[in-house]
Amino acid sequence: MPIAFESIATLSQALKNGEVSSRQLVEQAVARIDSLNPQLNAVVCLEAEQALANADQADARRAKGEHSPLLGIPMLHKDIFCTQGMRTTCASKMLADFVPPYDATVVQKLKDAGMINLGKCNMDEFAMGSSNETSVFGACKNPWDVTRVPGGSSGGSAVAVASGMVPFATGTDTGGSIRQPAALCGITGLKPTYGRVSRYGMIAFASSMDQAGPMAHSAQDCALVLNAMAGHDPLDSTCDNTPVPNYHQTLDHPIAGLRIGVPKEFFSSHLNTEVATAIDAAICELERAGATVKEVSLPSTDLAVSTYYVIAPAEASANLSRYDGVRYGYRCEAPSDLQDLYFRSRTEGFGAEVKRRILVGTFTLSAASYDQYFMKAQQVRRLITQEYDSVLNEVDVIAGPAAPNTAFALNDTSKSITDMYMEDVFTIGANLAGLPAISLPAGLVNGLPVGLQLIGQRFGEAQLLNVAHQFQSRTDWHTRRPTLEAVR
């Protein structure tokens, strides 16, 4: 059977019924990557042989009667997750040859669940970007229009799923890096509550916001994978030990009586009017499913981007200090002394956006500006968190756009750096407040996908997935496929 665009649920059933083998799934995925990747540049590392060997093992387990839902399903990891024995670069020259001696907890958990990892996905360098253009491997292209960006930083993961290479890929989201590319590529992406999924082995960008999550065609598939990804990890002190519910079990709960809050600040001048129309329509659909909708206010929304761009670079400036050319990673040629080793290794090993953020972070943490920037930003962060919490006392779910625009053009020189940062205006709040949020396909504008964002209560992933699934049961936006000839 052709597997492109099939859901995990369908593939799992086919595997169970013996209609297809895991080896066949992997072979088809590899063939599709081989044919599409030259155009899309979504995959930066493909380990087909190892994947086929693992698929054979999965088939053997199936033959023995094991039928866990993820067993034998092919997938890809964002190249930010450490994979034992498999090159892990964070799309940076700095780690171009880095092969980790250990697996990230997420990698281990999905391996344990029987998923077959084929390789690694393109991304913005060190997850710093909203267009996947800062990658050392070059830009990744949006399958809906290859002249446009897929969004970022988990652009490669979004494209791999959206183009039907694999039914699932991991992503990470520090300021919108799962939700914005999911929106721009027409797939479903969930950023869990901060602490729901272990960060161990996930290369750090901004540790207080980084969170791994699933990217797939549907909320149902996200639920299946989140079941395996989530949970306490003794190797990550910030990983919570709140029990993990079965996310799949509550998908079919009716949403009659669900209280939805729509923040008026999300429908500001930043928002493209056609995107706004699509989002309005999607919210009306939820209303028709029995939800009640009311306008709410998150007054500090406009402060979120600047707050984020103080805190995230500050944390990043320290997190990236370990890339110093001393122990591993890029080292400059023939350093004359220690200072030269540091200076040139980092100058040559990091790209422009990464260096920009290290500089910003170093500045905001310096003694002269700490109070004015870093401390102030922490205060605003608390304020934003309180605003979200107080709205979520009145409503169950906050709904709005995931991104202000549909996919924009590659190499758009008219877009300033701060314009680029504004791409995250609607997603950043959930990161600052540590809340779970999902983006799901909710329409097309000029042939390009629009993402509806739902933000939930802390550890309210089950409810978000339930609402998203109910939406997807009533609509077919998540089944629309890119019009690109090669992809179709």
Partner: protein
Amino acid sequence: MHWEMVMGLEVHLQLATHSKIFSSSSTQFGAEVNTHTNPLDMALPGTLPVLNHEAVTLAIVFGLGIGAEIGKISRFDRKNYFYPDLPKGYQISQFFEPIVKEGIFDVPLEDGSTFPVRILRAHLEEDAGKSVHDAIPAHTGIDLNRAGTPLLEVVTEPDFRTSEQVIAYLKALHALVTYLGISDGNMSEGSMRCDVNISLRPMGESAYGTRTELKNINSFRFIERAIHVESQRQQDLLEAGHTVTQETRLFDPDRDETRAMRSKEVANDYRYFPDPDLLPIVIDDATIENIRASLPELPVAKRLRYTEELGLSNYDANLLTQERATAEFFEIVAETSENPKSAANWVLGDVSAALNKEGISMSDATLSAIDVATLIARIDDNTLSSKMAKDVFDALWQGETDVDSIIDRKGLKQVSDSGALEVIINALISENTAQVEQYRVADEGKQKKLIGFFVGQAMKASKGQANPQLLNQLLKEKLG
């Protein structure tokens, strides 16, 4: 002009945990380079610190030991600087909210008084690795075995005015932490490292002068010397009308001077900020009380008990409590022999001398406290003279055991039978009539001398086994 020296200390104590503060690697000293390392210690991408709660417990033990307030919520911060032996490019420390807050540590002085030192704070942090300059020609090697070893940095107020006070504090701190089992306090292995902040001001002035920081001095002798050399340097500068530059200096014991560290070695702005990888340490009252209940008796309490209950001098009580092993040895001897004063004399006398001679500490000695106690009991019951007791002690020190069998084997039993001694004395009197006559007409001083003569002769005749006190008494009676 008279100058007053003002000093404050920062002492880094390596905590005696089994594994590192944020990783499961061993903290054992002296292993092959880079064998006590794992991906976290090497700062591989994606690794995360997980707090070793043993280090937290030891920090609380220390705080309670100095009567300080324990921070109910303390946090870890990142101290950012680049150095090859600092793998993450930042050190995890506690800058904003330390685990141990203000306390007062009463440092005992030899005269029995105490010198109160205000502790400003003590905080947990991780040690760095080591740069190895002589292992690979033309290269510097990095050994990360030590990276991540837990440290407790103990910071005082500028309360010291003399180097004697500094040394007394460090010795008392050393005694405290080894008592409490917080640290092995081994200075040569770097388990206790001291930075001295030092400035001078005209006597009577209340404002502080500009200070310099003397870094990482690792013996009491060098600390004393470094303070002397640096205060002299500052005094010379000030008296010549120059100013002292605030800087970090290293003491060079070979050249007997301090020199400024190169500015490259000193980072000016560490850009501290809360470490987002670690949760705050929250300590509840029950935890504190449990730890308090498990604390051993501290040196200060022991000293008080030794002087008030056991009747020892301040001087002896102070010496006996410097090391926990010594105090524990003394306490067994004192209790078993029921003679604390004699126990103190033996421990501080013959036992200490023997230890010093071999250059070992009490905890390394195989000598049994019960044997020493029996030895004292045999003196007290007149079985042994003090001279004989020294012979028995020598045998004990050589590894023999059981005092009574040593006495038997050496035939050391003291003759305390007055009948037997009278026979000897009678013989002496009849053999030395001239001396007997002299004694009868002599003054007190001369008599003493003559008694000495007879005692000596009687000892000789008894082959050294006569009980000298009894001998004295009997001679006085017979000659009188």
